[in-house]
Symmetry: C2
Subunit: 96 residues, 2 copies
């Protein structure tokens, strides 16, 4: 899995308006009604992560979920990150 | 719920060797076998948080869970944080 160039990442991000590229990773923040809704989305995302064998750096405070994705072995952002970002978007759209 | 003094917090922390006090909150880091075990513990902790109506500032990267507890309304650490820390310890001991 090759690390994508800054240009490739920025081109791909046009389809991901919730996500930003900085510090060698892609980042998004999602806000939910409350903690329960937020953690429900996290649980569904956790299953996707296991299925894709790719795991986020993520934080939660009450109803806010902050996610950063990068591919450690590649030293940057790869298509694996965009695949997981897409799965996350699908889940969040259903839960938000 | 009153904010505890530094002395009170440090006295209480003697019973919580995994936790440290700094930046006006108590903090712990827990390591698990893998992501699944880590997220399982997080799920059990999430139920406790809802039951206690008290929520952490927490982060996860693969098998590592980092938790910070403070009571926003009190502007610091209160007995609510120690109650949740105790519940977290019980869960983590069973999962780790």
């Amino acid at each position: 899995m090759n690390r994508l160039s800054k240009e490739d990442i920025e081109a791909k991000l046009l389809r991901f308006p919730d996500w930003e590229y900085f510090d060698n990773a892609i980042h998004a923040e999602f806000e939910f009604e409350n903690f329960k809704d937020c953690f429900s989305a996290m649980s569904r995302i956790a299953f996707e992560c296991e299925a894709l064998n790719h795991h986020p750096n993520w934080s939660n405070v009450y109803n806010v979920l902050t996610i950063s994705l990068s591919t450690h072995d590649a030293g940057g952002v790869t298509n694996k990150d965009f695949k997981l970002a897409e799965a996350i978007e699908t889940i969040v759209e259903q839960e938000e």
